[in-house]
Symmetry: C2
């Protein structure tokens, strides 16, 4: 039975009549499905900052819609108050490029005329709705292109969460899985847990299960032996940033799967919005890798997993060199090596 | 300054005058160093069963010494009560071969004559002390042979805990590190955390820190990118079982490090007691891999890391094929491929 895409959970929903933004509070996953309405700039800022909403595409969309939702609930929203809110939301997370990009688009609406009050709010709502629609369409295009790479019965290994819960649509790396399932094909997913923050076991496994896609969780260290046992048909991951030569920065651990895929002669696919391509970065070595807090590795909740003062290596990302990448799937289509992305 | 081996923690200590066995309670690591005295068969059985003492060599030694300690504290130990205790301890963990092996040696002491009372106890104490001394000597021999493979300044990546806390001596995979440090060489260790049970971050990091060896913890998924960055000189791991062709079963995740080491042209060493060689197993495919409880992956303490009912892949071990192994270090020396171990 084909999967209905209606069962794919949505990171956020927008109700244009009431200008209401609802999100799934991803901090509570997988233990509870809690939806929250974001009504004020404080709430939007807090949701982004604390990862209640996460994933570069999703937070850009959430910031744009949240700006409109909060302005619509203010007694007297002014150009100045909205401009201040834009500046604040643009800073709510440091890394993702989508956040300042979405806020720049909202700012352009303000700068484009001298509308004020309800007229300005209408123009901002229209722009936010366009950002939302573009994100949904981007996911669908990646799904359509990527599904063509999957066999009719495929076992896809993925890492981290580049799924519906990271976007406003059906995801990036998981979009081809959903698209193939919607065509009635049989796809199953192995979700690597993705230490240290466990987005794979917490979020990817939850959303796939919810959508009705067969999913198995494993630790990151099990991927290679699953490949050796013939249990994996391809690796399919997202990307945080792609250099113009195809080198791909993605969640730490991605590179180890790329090495293992090459060793076992399996395809390694990257799926990402074309906006993740950074044509200004000639190669992966130009991408700065953020080092994160040691306690992400040393603790889970209040449980010590390592000596409190032990030295820890905790980069947020690694870079997979283009020579290990079989194809890059974007909303614009499928690219194969040699990669040469231009602005 | 050379490391003094006196700082290497000991999984267990034996006081022959008082026939007293003390262990480090490894369930409490890394949060607390708690030593416990094991005085009764119930306490010995419980310590082995609940992993207070763990590591195949250590539990064989602990069972032999614990048998003597508990018999010495009984009012009237009989041949029958000691035989029953031996049978019970031999079953306290299912997998490790050292436990039934050590118990068989103690049983032979009983079967060898008709001594009873204090005389029998003396004979059992002497045999347990021999088992202890042999284990300490085995570790030292592995350390001596293995240290020759390390450069004067080396960064060793290891997985799980094949250290002092898994043996009665200075460990197996970590023995070459300790031996090289004791010679005044500069060795540092990268300890992969070893999901799901985290023996690397909890135990290996703790014992190395305690011993004064520089150690950095990383998640298992970071090993490949550390190799790519030139931060690793070799991989050195233990083994649960080695087939006669050199295929090596060890803690899950070992294989992914072997694949990554090969990709980066780094040596991959296995260190283990010669008793871990199973000449009856012609190759790794003959080794049965235990599947463990899904909640080891789905939960840490009372914290859910994945949906409660999600399917999980959780093998205890993986098998690294001999062609990825640069050398096997045992107490008998260093072997290089092609491996052909005989009984």
């Amino acid at each position: 039975m084909p999967l209905s895409l209606h069962h794919v959970p949505r990171a956020l929903t927008w109700h244009p009549e009431t200008r209401t933004l609802r999100i799934i509070d991803q901090r509570r996953l997988p233990e509870a499905l809690v939806e929250r309405e974001l009504c004020t700039i404080d709430e939007v800022d807090d949701a982004i900052r604390t990862l209640a909403v996460r994933g570069a595409p999703a937070i850009g969309v959430a910031a744009a819609l949240g700006l409109v939702a909060s302005a619509a609930r203010e007694a007297h929203p002014t150009r100045a108050s909205i401009i201040a809110a834009i500046a604040r939301l643009a800073r709510s997370r440091p890394t993702a490029v989508n956040l300042p990009w979405a806020m720049a688009r909202m700012r352009q609406v303000i700068d484009a005329g001298d509308a004020d009050g309800a007229l300005l709010l209408d123009a901002l709502a229209a722009e936010a709705a366009r950002i939302l629609a573009e994100d949904i369409a981007m996911c669908e295009a990646i799904g359509r292109h990527g599904a063509a790479l999957l066999a009719d019965e495929a076992c896809v290994l993925t890492h981290c969460n580049a799924g519906a819960l990271a976007t406003a649509g059906i995801g990036t790396a998981l979009a081809p899985v959903y698209a193939a399932m919607a065509e009635g094909r049989r796809v199953e997913v192995i979700a690597c847990e993705t230490r240290p923050l466990l987005q794979g076991s917490r979020i990817t496994a939850w959303e796939l299960q919810r959508a009705g896609v067969p999913v198995t969780v494993c630790t990151d260290s099990m991927a290679a032996s699953l490949m050796r046992d013939g249990r994996v048909d391809c690796v399919l991951v997202g990307a945080d940033r792609i250099a113009s030569n195809g080198d791909t920065a993605n969640k730490i651990g991605t590179y180890s799967h790329a090495v293992a895929a090459r060793h076992h002669a399996l395809p390694f696919y990257v799926a990402a919005p074309s906006s993740s391509i950074d044509a200004a970065a000639p190669r992966g070595s130009a991408i700065v890798i953020e080092q994160r807090d040691a306690d992400e590795v040393r603790r889970v909740g209040d449980r010590a997993l390592a000596p409190a003062d032990v030295r820890v290596h905790n980069p947020a990302f690694d870079v997979t060199p283009a020579e290990l990448v079989t194809a890059i799937i974007t909303d614009r289509g499928i690219r194969r090596p040699p990669f040469r992305f231009t602005a």
